[in-house]
Amino acid sequence: MLEQVRRHCKEALDAKRLDLVYGVGNRKAGPAPRFFSTAEELDELVLAGKEPLVFTCRPSDRNVVDLVRERSPTAKLGIVARGCDERALFELAKRFQLSLDGIEIIGVACDQAQAEECRCPRPYPKNLAFGTPLDKPVDDPVLEKLQRLPLEERLAFWRYQLSKCVKCYGCRNACPMCFCKECQMEGELFVPRGAQPPEFPTFHFVQLIHLADRCIDCGECERACPMDIPLRLLKKSLRSEVRERFGYEAGVDPTTASPLGSIERGEPSHAE
């Protein structure tokens, strides 16, 4: 499949259908996101690696698409995207963080092994170009266990887990959906300054609740955490609550607006 994707990108560059490809490249230090502008460079394109592509970066105000647009406003950009990458793109576009104009999403499906390693609920993109989508979702056995715990034990579990936090903000910095310029995890209004570990559970609750309808379930927060706090369990359960209540899943669809940020049919002042 990798060869097919490389060939597709090379042809697109040759035919000038695309000017630039963004994807994961193999470096000596390991796979990392990069741009490809020639056929030779594309020989380094890989599909492996669990880390999703990086689109936004803190503390910079600019995302990857902005960087491309700054240099050449009309460049046609191809993005080799797995399910999680595409969800990030869609959700960022819907929330006015980037524009999908002039972008071709070259969607690739992940295989069973990758999906299981990532405990991914949807290991394929909507714009699927290569690979076969898995037909049944990957369960999360850890989450199921957590849900079966009685309340007191769950509280004890999180008290312990969150007390490991060293307040490095890695979970927020790595999250593709954390793009607010002012972050309440830093402000003293809700999270007391200087506490180490940060106040339980406020610090983590801020991100959890703010991402309820935004989390694309990529797992970056958990991967970034140096203290191995299973942050994604919380995010996952809120994401599925949003799906059950409103039928909304962040990033799955490029146009449907989140129910939390919009007025829906039937609600007052909804314009038919």
Partner: protein
């Protein structure tokens, strides 16, 4: 000494606060366990405010707004209605009983209903016991199994 719950109630200015006011001017009695905070609209009650109240000693938080369709900002309470259940789910996943947060609609003429609501909620929280977030911290150092 028996446990007396402390409940923080966020009441919207236009309906629910006026409803509570009506109960007051009509000299109806209700348990003194409630601290009322007036907000302009139930849609103002961010989950972070609720968490702040729970951290600062509330055993439960009640949010009251105008009935659906009556919000003075048209859609404020529609947003509240969508948001609060997610907050309750987040609390539940963290191990905090979601009954500690409750959303109710109380209109300006429902003074008596407000009194009933408070009586009932205070009784429910008295049963539930103190909020574990405000009690002495459980200083566990080994991971509870999962």
């Amino acid at each position: 000494m028996s446990f007396e719950p402390r409940i923080v109630a966020f009441l919207c200015n236009w309906c629910s606060y006026t409803g509570a006011d009506l109960a007051g001017t009509a000299r109806m009695r209700y348990p003194p366990n409630v601290v009322i905070i007036r907000v302009m609209c139930s849609g103002r009650v961010s989950p972070l405010l609720v968490m702040s109240a729970l951290k600062q000693g509330a055993d439960a938080v009640l949010i009251c707004g105008c009935h659906i369709g009556d919000c003075h900002y048209t859609t404020g309470n529609w947003q509240t209605e969508k948001r609060i259940p997610l907050l309750r789910k987040a609390l539940e996943m963290l191990g905090i009983d979601p009954r500690r947060v409750r959303l109710e609609w109380v209109s300006a003429s429902e003074g008596a209903r407000f009194v009933e609501l408070i009586e009932e909620y205070v009784a429910e929280i008295r049963q539930l016991g103190p909020n574990p977030l405000t009690g002495a911290q459980d200083a566990r150092t080994s991971p509870p199994s999962l």
